[in-house]
Assembly symmetry: C2
């Protein structure tokens, strides 16, 4: 099967609160929105923020829990950008989990939780190429 | 900021069990693996499955919970593929949450939880283009 992820859907409790984090914090532009979901066109996949009750109903599972055992990462071009992005996100509803520092394997990273407690790693990883379309390639 | 997600990292309890679901179920090939993490090169981003204790330590947060309030989607080329993929995943450690059926907005989809209870939507959505590199574009 194609090694492809089409959508990441995050359950959110308050769409306006979530939107502020993604639109004003990350500076991302929605490609579609209605009263229950906002979609963002990303690098070859789509990010959706959907009212959690609707997501749970669609999945036919209940009691979605937080914080979930996962993290999303947004990689940036420099070490300084890590601190800058974390600071901007923290002013738009994000909660800093870990200030930027250097992991053993190199680079630089920190973590911010979005208003619904979904974790975002903000990372500078010079070994991983990111092209002008935002396509990310694993490297060592 | 670039509308870009670099990595999705899923916390896993048992790496071999998780690997079976992704390698034998989805048929995906790791680009890197060691005793605590497996990386898969996806469509312009990387999927990581990382021992949950290590992920929690890196994020500096504890008590990661399941099922998390999120879903990932893998879109396929036809309605029949939805049922076929769900069936294959269910034979490789996946647990069916919802058999394939048609949502109101069109297309066809079902949900499977991976061995760590992370939800995967398997969807046929004819309005969203997927190119030969697996790059997915939002459509209406």
């Amino acid at each position: 099967m194609q090694q492809q992820i089409s959508v990441i859907t995050l359950g959110v409790a308050d769409l306006a609160r979530s939107r502020r984090f993604y639109v004003e914090g990350f500076g991302w532009k929605p490609v579609f929105e209605n009263p229950e979901i906002v979609f963002y066109q990303m690098n070859g996949l789509v990010l959706g923020t959907w009212l959690e009750t609707a997501l749970a109903g669609d999945m036919q599972r209940s009691k979605l829990a937080r914080p979930g055992a996962f993290a999303l990462a947004h990689n940036v071009a420099s070490r300084d950008d890590v601190k800058r992005v974390i600071e901007v996100l923290s002013r738009h509803g994000g909660r800093i989990l870990r200030e930027g520092d250097a992991p053993e394997h190199g680079g630089f990273r920190g973590y911010v939780a979005d208003p619904d407690d979904h974790a975002w790693e903000i990372a500078w990883n010079p070994a991983w190429a990111i092209d002008s379309n935002g396509l990310v390639k694993f490297g060592l």
